[in-house]
Symmetry: C2
């Protein structure tokens, strides 16, 4: 097809271009037909320009203009004119000019789209996913992908400038499931054998450190075959980083440097230094979360000391069972209705709490069903500890330490939402959480699992505990948290094959299994592995936060649904039996063992 | 482990640092023990620094120094001193200084590596692949990956600066095999269904054009389950590019801009403009190849006119059967021995030629077994056409046009090698090949295949031929060739659903199959697809050429063998039957149909 190629984009023309003859290519965004004159908003990625078909000036162009419909693709040639002063549109970059059309070519027609291409669209998610290529025409989605684009570049430029080497690691690798399920890829050349898609390039990046690459980074696709929660994707993108001859402080410095440039270049904000740090224990006790949102207060206060000898059995029992009594004061919520409080109670019960204790701070004292069980001294200390003032609502949970704190953390977030403590103008808050437990006990399988992964180094002072009290060992692990979202996690790694063997043992992984799965890594550690550590960022989530979105899906060009399907091309799909035959596999019948 | 973290890298210290107290971390590269004094070459990615353990200056450090062996990882603290003038080493950046060690910590010991870590290693490829993490410690491989790193950055910065948007496309996609085999990924959530890994993001990038992203790029992993030739990898990396509202010239301009910065920043060379162009027909006729190496001459000359009425049957038959007689003059090879010529004959026979006609240009005329069949006029014209002078060797093949030209192209490359026409100082040559045939006839399956892929647009003037003489239709397709390697291929695409349907028909793809496989793309074309086109670069091969290598494998951190295995971690590997069960598949027995 021959057509006049654009001289300018649809977002480019200004008053200084008046008088020029120009060619624009784009989509019909809007159309106003006033009879003799037709106004078309012509759109491309860069903006919208109003073009005018005037029957008096050019009848043949006007005639074609009459045929144009929404989303037609056209090439127009015309002259830039200044708009009359009373028609200047200040909300468009091109709002001071129009283009009067001399000639026009329809490059492609368009059927009426299943939903209109505009900023806010009232259509079902599934319809939008099926026609994702049309959804992606909408300005908000284009903006998200542009932010994502910018973040790729800022990130890579930062690491490049700081002497990190970008290395691609394999996508077809060995299956070593530990935790999440692997996606498998049957091998055609090796009957009965399979590759796995990487859950992360963890082992490869550690091998690169053994190779002496010193500082490595990669923005890389990873895969987990999980039952997808609302906002997970089977394939996700990670900023992967590893450094040699480092301690935690070196990793923190490198990461904070990246965050500084992202804050500046994406948000035009200065990251405040020093970046706050909390140990895992502190974060959980104060915020009921290992990814605390500290953009607002409502800090939890442990009240065990207040209620050690309480008459109120619920509190006393919790304290004496090595549990916790924890509370916070919801500012100005003393006027909550019975109904509102019932809702909160319901919410924490759904999380497993037995009940919610509430006390309204009134002018005459604490108003609460449990007030009568509390001594005056307890009431005073309670108010004092929580810094609760008249008009506040005190909320308290008691029970098993970790569970209760987690429930309280959720309640804290819920109250922040109700109190609208976070809005568009709230300053973002970045922080580190450190000193995670190395291992987590799983009641179901009666074994320990690595809280991060099996290559995480314990704190050197805790190594002795690995054999005796593994649950008490802290890890040299850290998470980076932005606005209450974990955006990165990492650790200083084990670089000693003896300690690595000890770790596998604590995880109940036999020598044989360790050798079969990770023999190559253990072997690599014997040829001069340097001390090393690193981190991996959840890139999709970072884009979500930086773009001010609620959903990871909106940061991805072609996302999958929660059942891991693509509604656009209907994958996964059936394949020819010939393909399976070549791969030496067949479908399993339900009756197959 | 507590250790002193480096103040400098091992490539950093210079005369100006003399007197400073420094800490270096690195590997023991070399070791000379002179009794009271031990010299260690301490290595990291950045270089090697000589450190000295002197028993008189520090006995305890010297004692530990005695324990050090190759590839031990150490942290040394010491003072920078100037080397005596007669010991200055000009081939090391740090060759003017030494570090006299005050204290040393062994960070990790090392067993003796299976091969030495030095530039040239005499070890089997398989051993090096098994211990790839040690092979990667060698300077040549580190250099290759550093060049690769630089090429990633240069490429992305170029596209970013030119308003291209980086978009990640899915890795788990729909299986639509057409040509090469897909790698399949069984779905756990959807029994009996499969994802495929992308052979290229072709459909996605075209959808992004429909979405209005206008200019897209991505450096992306792609996958082909092929029987691997010597230098192919099952996963490979592509620079993927697509542009809207463009013609061939716009794509060329964008691509040449990238090549210009790569030439400059990787080679410090200026790319010469204009970049030469050959049509497919010209390239094949003149160089016997659609990826001609024009760094040297030896151009083929078609001799049909000379031999139309020849007495020499071989030539005459070729001409009258619409075949070709083609030859070139190998400069200065008239003294080739019988044995040398037999070798050449053997080589072209292995490629399918019936025989090789040779004529030595001697002072007394043409010396050749076939000379007696040729008239004087033919001999004169032959010499004239080939510009053959005394001392040259004329080589001629005759037969079916395409086959003969291809054989002749191979012979041309062989002669260039023998004549050493290309060396390190030869200037690189970049060129375009255009006007490829749209379709290729396959004798075996008796159908046409797309020479590039089914989305390639025919030349507009040839569209009418699609129904009548599809083999004659030329495509709006182009390849970019560097030093005789195809480094990129692309085309202007079909953007019209009607023409796309016509193309599928010419390929023998039924309406139903087209709908099942590519329905979403055909549908997208109905909602306003802009004219668009693009290109994809084979990134691994580009790195190979820019790094001056012979093998793609040397450009990849963790490559696979020709049987698609990783010798390091032994993938693909067997997996637990539990994993297969969850994926609703089982292994196929040999007796299974």
């Amino acid at each position: 097809m021959n057509f006049k190629r654009r001289t300018h984009t649809c977002g480019e023309l200004r008053t200084k271009d008046v008088g020029q003859s120009v060619v624009l290519n784009g989509w019909v965004d809007s159309r106003r037909d006033l009879g003799g004159v037709i106004f078309i908003g012509l759109r491309d990625r860069y903006g919208i320009t109003q073009v005018i078909f005037d029957s008096e000036q050019n009848e043949s162009a006007h005639k074609i203009g009459k045929e144009l419909r929404s989303e037609f693709v056209v090439s127009v040639e015309g002259k830039v004119i200044k708009r009359p002063d009373d028609q200047i549109s200040s909300d468009m970059d091109t709002g001071e000019i129009d283009v009067v059309v001399d000639s026009v070519t329809i490059l492609n027609e368009a059927e009426t789209p299943p939903f209109p291409i505009k900023d806010n669209v009232d259509a079902f998610d599934d319809l939008k996913l099926k026609y994702r290529y049309l959804d992606l025409r909408r300005a908000p989605l284009q903006k998200n992908l542009m932010i994502r684009h910018r973040m790729y570049q800022v990130t890579r430029n930062y690491f490049d400038k700081n002497d990190f080497v970008e290395v691609e690691t394999p996508t077809l690798m060995k299956s070593t499931p530990e935790g999440a399920r692997d996606y498998l890829v049957p091998s055609r050349l090796h009957s009965g054998r399979f590759y796995a898609l990487p859950q992360s390039p963890q082992t490869y990046k550690q091998l690169l450190m053994v190779s002496g690459f010193d500082k490595y980074f990669q923005i890389v696709k990873c895969f987990r075959d999980e039952d997808l929660r609302a906002d997970r994707q089977p394939e996700f993108t990670q900023i992967d980083v590893e450094m040699s001859f480092v301690d935690t402080e070196d990793v923190f410095k490198a990461v904070e440097g990246l965050m500084k440039v992202l804050f500046k270049q994406i948000w035009n904000k200065e990251l405040q230094f020093p970046v706050q740090r909390f140990t895992f224990d502190e974060a959980v006790e104060k915020y009921g979360s290992d990814k605390p949102d500290i953009r607002f207060g409502l800090e939890l206060v442990t009240l065990n000391d207040v209620f050690t000898n309480s008459e109120f059995k619920v509190f006393k029992d919790a304290v004496s069972a090595n549990g916790i009594v924890t509370g916070f004061a919801a500012t100005g919520c003393a006027d909550y209705s019975r109904n509102q409080i019932d809702n909160l109670t319901e919410a924490v019960k759904n999380l497993g709490a037995k009940g919610l204790v509430w006390l309204k701070v009134k002018d005459k004292g604490l108003d609460s069903p449990v007030a009568k069980f509390l001594s005056d001294d307890e009431k005073d200390k309670l108010q004092e500890n929580l810094n609760a003032n008249q008009g506040d609502l005190i909320l308290i949970l008691a029970g098993d330490r970790m569970k209760t704190l987690t429930q309280m953390g959720a309640l804290r977030l819920e109250m922040a939402k109700r109190l609208e403590l976070v809005n568009e103008d709230t300053e973002p808050k970045l922080l580190w959480v450190t000193d995670f437990p190395l291992l987590e006990w799983d009641e179901e399988t009666k074994r320990f699992y690595a809280m991060h992964h099996p290559f995480t180094s314990p704190r050197m002072e805790d190594v002795g505990l690995l054999d005796t009290e593994p649950g008490k060992v802290k890890a040299r692990a850290y998470d980076l948290v932005l606005n209450g979202h974990e955006i990165a996690g990492g650790s200083i790694r084990i670089h000693d094959s003896g300690l690595q063997a000890k770790m596998f043992k604590a995880l109940g992984i036999s020598k044989e299994e360790a050798e079969r799965k990770f023999g190559f890594l253990m072997s690599a550690f014997k040829y001069g592995a340097p001390p090393h550590g690193g981190i991996a960022f959840g890139f999709d989530r970072m884009v979500m936060i930086f773009a001010g979105l609620d959903s990871i899906r909106d940061t991805i060009a072609f996302p999958k649904t929660t059942s891991a399907t693509s509604l656009m091309d209907e994958s996964p799909s059936e394949v020819a039996d010939e393909q399976l035959k070549e791969l030496h596999i067949k479908l399993r019948n339900e009756k197959d063992s």
